[in-house]
């Protein structure tokens, strides 16, 4: 039920993001979704790609510090209040969102949002029980 996300450490200087994109591009890796968390000195690039192993290898070969993290891809109704409803459900279960970002693609009439919770399993359980669709990794990578 979980999706693998790759995180890359980036120094806050020009050209670093472009370099990651170049490395992934030449390895033939396609990016499905991404976000950047930034501080004054460094950033963390988080990406969901179509081929994790290839992406990890290409980045490591180019001396990037990378890590894999499990995140949850949730279908959110693409209507006003759609995300609010999901977050309300999680709040009841005392699950915190560490970070989240939206997927560019849609799944049927729904938006897809990538979540990193402080308790992924609890969140998945609560959302599934409420009838919310959680997307499988394999599906997400190839959207």
């Amino acid at each position: 039920m979980k999706v693998e996300q790759i995180s890359v450490f980036l120094e806050n200087k020009s050209g670093r993001l472009a370099e990651v994109m170049r490395v992934l591009g030449s390895a033939g890796v396609n990016i499905r979704a991404l976000s950047i968390a930034d501080t004054s000195d460094f950033g963390i690039l988080r990406v969901i790609v179509n081929d994790n192993d290839k992406a990890m290898k290409a980045l490591k070969d180019n001396d990037f510090t990378v890590s894999k993290t499990e995140v949850v891809a949730v279908e959110v109704p693409d209507t006003p209040g759609g995300l609010a409803g999901i977050l309300a459900l999680l709040e009841k279960q005392s699950v915190n969102v560490e970070y989240m970002y939206a997927f560019i693609e849609r799944s049927s009439d729904n938006a897809i949002i990538i979540f990193r919770f402080d308790g992924n399993d609890r969140a998945i359980k609560a959302l599934s029980e409420a009838g919310i669709t959680i997307l499988e990794g394999a599906k997400v990578y190839n959207l």
Binding site: A37, I44, T69
Partner: protein
């Protein structure tokens, strides 16, 4: 001006015979009272009686910083603790500083030497001395304080820090002399100008005694211009006595007169340990010849200088040492605190997951030293969450502050971005333009 005409202008021959007499007494004393020195002499097959002339100094074993640390805290004291009226300690070292002791007579000697230092800078009774050297275990504050009292000046014992308040006091109390580190003087000027005060016009300061860190002729010019004062270089180190080992005279401002009736300076080749003739650059070595509680024999300072025997226009007969131009080790002085890169490394290594790929960037911003610790991020410490990485940064800043009392900035950098030369990283980039 000369504080102690009799000793400071002693003809060379008389000075040397006084030095020999005092050296012999010191050597006798340490051999008899300090097991460390006795052991070292015995190992070298040396008896105090072998010292028959000043030339025989070269027979004496060197003392190095680690010797002092190994005998922490009081192991090198040459008098019983009940005769020690004061202790001081070196700045900013891991847990164990270097501790030195003073008898009542040592304190008296020190006050005399600082009286000479301040007098050489043209400070006298009637002056108000703003003393911004730190008070406490650091020797700077109390050393300058006792000297200023000895000459009968009025002392403002302001110590370091709280810069805005210092400026208010400098404006309101009207000190005519200042004693502090040269970088702090420039910082005071910056803050004063931010407060709308012109250091050249709004203060009555005439002269400053600056030391405790390396500085340059360029900085002197800068300080003299900004404050419209004479800036005099003074020198000392905790291990030898504190400030008051040598001082420039305001007449020449060219080299620091070593108070040779109390300390014998030598310049040695740092590689071979061989003494070098006057005029040659090398490592500065001191032997104290009047100290009671904490005598030092041929203490290697790691500071690079040279000695100039030319007679000075001020009339002092003491040799002059050139302004310190460097170190034979990698010690950094950050805001007056001694920092060895190896100590920072050991602090970093105590943090789980960190690798020894780091670099120290030392700079001077707004006239204050800054230190930035760059650490390469590896997979063990990397996380997809910003806060986890910030925890590491904060830990580094905290641990270094705990260890040295110096605030630093920690920056995480990408792997293999720290310059490596022949497999060995360049640890320190010192951008300070002194």
């Amino acid at each position: 001006m000369i504080w102690n005409e009799e000793f400071e202008t002693l003809p060379r021959e008389a000075l040397e015979s006084l030095q020999l007499k005092r050296l012999k007494a010191t050597v006798d004393r340490v051999y008899a009272t300090v097991p460390f020195y006795k052991k070292k002499f015995d190992e070298a097959g040396l008896k105090p009686s072998h010292i028959k002339s000043l030339k025989d100094m070269r027979l004496l074993p060197f003392t190095v910083k680690t010797d002092l640390r190994d005998n922490y805290p009081f192991g090198l004291f040459s008098v019983p603790m009940e005769s020690v009226v004061r202790v001081h300690a070196s700045s900013g070292t891991t847990g164990k500083p270097i501790v030195v002791g003073y008898t009542r007579r040592d304190i008296d000697t020190w006050a005399e030497l600082m009286a000479r230092t301040l007098t050489a800078a043209g400070i006298h009774k009637g002056d108000i001395v703003h003393n911004s050297y730190g008070y406490g275990l650091f020797t700077g504050g109390l050393g300058a304080h006792y000297g200023a009292e000895r000459i009968g000046a009025s002392v403002i014992p302001i110590s370091g820090g709280n810069t805005k308040r210092q400026i208010m006091i400098m404006k309101d109390f009207g000190p005519t002399a200042i004693t502090c580190t040269p970088s702090y003087a420039l910082h005071l000027a910056d803050v004063a100008r931010d407060m709308g005060i012109d250091p050249a016009k709004d203060f009555k300061i005439r002269v400053g005694c600056f030391g405790a860190e390396p500085w340059s002729e360029k900085m002197r010019e800068q300080i003299e211009k900004i404050f419209n004062i004479d800036a005099v270089d003074i020198f000392g180190l905790t291990e030898v006595i504190g400030p008051g080992v040598s001082s420039e005279c305001i007449e020449a401002k060219r080299g620091l007169h070593v108070f040779e009736d109390h300390f014998i300076p030598e310049i040695i080749d740092p590689e071979t340990g061989e003494p070098l003739p006057y005029g040659e650059k090398g490592e500065l070595v001191f032997t104290s010849i009047t100290k009671e509680a904490f005598p030092v024999i041929r203490y290697r300072t790691r500071d690079i200088s040279c000695l100039n025997p030319e007679l000075c226009i001020c009339g002092r007969t003491f040799v002059r040492m050139e302004r310190i131009t460097g170190r034979t080790d990698d010690m950094l002085i950050i805001r007056g605190v001694n920092v060895f890169p190896s100590q920072i490394e050991s602090a970093l290594m105590q943090i789980e997951g960190l690798e020894p790929h780091y670099q120290l960037i030392v700079d001077r911003k707004n006239n204050l030293d800054t230190i930035e610790v760059q650490v390469e991020v590896n997979e063990r410490i990397f996380s997809d969450e910003v806060k986890q990485l910030e925890v590491i940064e904060k830990r580094v800043v905290h641990d270094i502050k705990e260890m040295f009392g110096v605030s630093c900035k920690c920056t995480l950098v990408e792997p293999k971005t720290i310059q490596r030369s022949e497999g060995k990283a360049k640890r320190v980039i010192d951008k300070r333009q002194l």
